[in-house]
């Protein structure tokens, strides 16, 4: 992807994104909670909100740290402070991002893509869920695949980000007609059909928020 030289992944970038995401998630909390009560047990939104609050509160402890240390601290905070599936999955995401090589060098957009792809792959491994199983991975895996495609192409960045926004939204909506085979909703069988997966919805909102903030840059 053709981009200007800018910092795309830093501790301050992560904190400011967490703040943006917190606002969007709080605005949509009622909807996500209702989705979860339809097919899950209603804890997802509280876990996501708790996680975002913890990350935002970390600001003063991590703002001057190098990226790898900052990511590790975010990972441990998320892992120990959230609980449920979300805590394990997002904790795994940050922990794996921290393991990407050469984090002490300038991170360009391609490198940032590589980090996110590594993180999403680790989540897939941890949750043992693939696309089509009515979970947050229905949004995250296609986004990761698109990032992989974009990072070695000549696509214009704003165009690429808009495509990702579209993919996340389409895949989120597609969970509505899926039969769940993983996660809490899988216990429902046919009755889970007709409801969007709450994890897919919260993940889509996160992707949407990050991409839009980058497009507006």
């Amino acid at each position: 992807m053709i981009t200007e030289t800018k910092e795309y992944m830093s501790v301050n970038f992560l904190i400011s994104q967490a703040k943006n995401i917190q606002i969007v998630i709080n605005e949509n909390a009622g909807e996500i909670e209702a989705l979860d009560q339809n097919i899950g047990d209603g804890d997802h939104i509280f876990n996501v909100q708790r996680g975002l609050k913890l990350v935002v509160e970390l600001e003063n402890d991590i703002k001057n740290l190098p990226l790898q240390k900052g990511l590790n601290m975010i990972a441990m905070k998320v892992l120990s402070g959230i609980g449920g599936s979300s805590g394990a999955l997002f904790g795994t995401f940050f922990m794996s991002m921290a393991k990407t090589p050469d984090l002490d060098k300038n991170i360009d957009f391609n490198k940032a893509c590589e980090m996110v792809i590594t993180g999403i792959n680790a989540m897939k491994e941890r949750g043992k869920a693939d696309v089509g199983e009515k979970t947050m991975m229905d949004v995250l895996i296609p986004v990761s695949e698109k990032l992989n495609e974009l990072k070695n192409s000549n696509t214009d960045m704003n165009e690429g980000l808009s495509e990702i926004i579209k993919i996340a939204e389409d895949r989120m909506l597609a969970t509505k007609d899926m039969l769940a085979t993983k996660g809490r909703a899988s216990f429902l069988g046919e009755r889970a059909k007709g409801h969007i997966d709450p994890g897919a919805r919260s993940s889509q909102l996160i992707i949407d928020t990050i991409c839009k903030s980058l497009i507006n840059k």
Binding site: D41, G87, A88, R126
Partner: protein, 330 residues
């Protein structure tokens, strides 16, 4: 929402505080990370059993920490799996060198967090996963059946074997046997309210019941009109017997478990119905357990668990136990 609450954020901490004060002769409550351990150290050579899960199912699991059952329990937030650092800290605290057996209910969040905890713990450890709920389909392509009330029986029976010197491998094998030989079916009349949500998890009519409900109020097989107890119990037992296929005259343990909001008087009535139905089918009930052991906050409802028993299971069931929620023989 009507609950005994001061502040939603302090709900778990204050409840754990009270639990620690009320049962200080048996257990100790550790904070940050949260886990409940026995008051006395695990004796050398004894395998340590650690379970845990979201809070809101009390007395499971903290109420089962003590002689003859668990060595530690890790409580998560209400209905949310505990975090890996809790399992790691509990294992480091209670392992006497003979290894740790994690007992995990089959829910995605519990599985992932216990797996990570086990990876972070450097000592010898293994896990068993309970999945006794016959209400949902089992398949290698899905998360599979939920782990519910039979987890109580696994913890009691394996706890006895561990107390009597069983190795990590033997404990795991017995736990898997108990799980495989038990089946559970639950019914709910009302919803429960998660404190952080402040409103009921699901809507249900005054004359309706959720057949096959999970222990978080997650839906089950179908929504039906409420029926006489005998009919409900018969339908529950049919689902269990279809799955367990006990032989004629096979010995069983019958466990009637309250979901938290149903009085004992009704649970005993359910027990009576279940006895009659099982007797008519030639199934022998040799042991019983009735009470609120694996609950869903204030939900009205009950589950029935049937466990097919051999001599090893019976011997370990009868062995002495001394925990906050279960005590006999000592």
């Amino acid at each position: 929402m009507k609950k005994f609450i001061n502040n939603v954020d302090d709900f778990l901490k204050e409840s754990l505080n009270g639990f620690g004060k009320a049962h200080g002769d048996i257990i100790k409550v550790n904070f940050e990370p949260n886990f409940i351990s026995r008051k006395t150290k695990t004796k050398e050579g004894k395998v340590s059993l650690i379970s845990g899960g979201g809070s809101g199912h009390e007395p499971m699991h903290g109420g089962f920490v003590g002689h003859g059952m668990l060595d530690a329990a890790c409580p998560g937030f209400v209905f949310s799996a505990p975090t890996p650092d809790q399992m790691q800290a509990a294992a480091e605290n209670v392992d006497s060198g003979a290894g740790v057996l994690f007992i995990v209910k089959n829910y995605s969040g519990d599985i992932m967090n216990f797996q990570m905890g086990a990876e972070m713990y450097s000592g010898k450890n293994d896990s068993i996963i309970t999945n006794d709920d016959v209400a949902v389909e089992d398949s290698t392509f899905t998360t599979g059946r939920r782990g519910v009330a039979a987890t109580v029986l696994v913890e009691k029976i394996v706890g006895s074997l561990a107390e009597n010197g069983g190795s990590l491998e033997e404990c795991k094998k017995l736990g898997e046997k108990v799980n495989k030989n038990s089946g559970t079916m639950g019914v709910a009349f009302t919803s429960c309210t998660v404190p952080a949500a402040g409103k009921p998890t699901f809507d249900i009519g005054n004359d309706e019941m959720e057949f096959g409900v999970g222990i978080h109020g997650e839906p089950g097989r179908k929504r039906e009109k409420i029926q006489p107890s005998k009919t409900i119990v018969n339908n529950m037992l049919e689902a269990i017997l279809d799955d367990l296929k006990p032989q004629k005259n096979e010995k069983t343990l019958l466990f009637v478990n309250g979901m938290g909001g149903t009085p004992l008087t009704e649970l005993y009535l359910v027990y009576d119905d279940a006895c009659e139905i099982l007797k008519s089918k030639g199934i022998e009930i040799t042991r019983s357990l009735v009470g609120n052991y694996c609950t869903s906050l204030e939900m009205q409802g009950a589950s029935i668990t049937l466990l097919k028993c051999d001599e090893e299971i019976l011997k370990n069931w009868d062995a002495p136990v001394h925990t906050a929620a279960m005590r006999w023989g000592m």
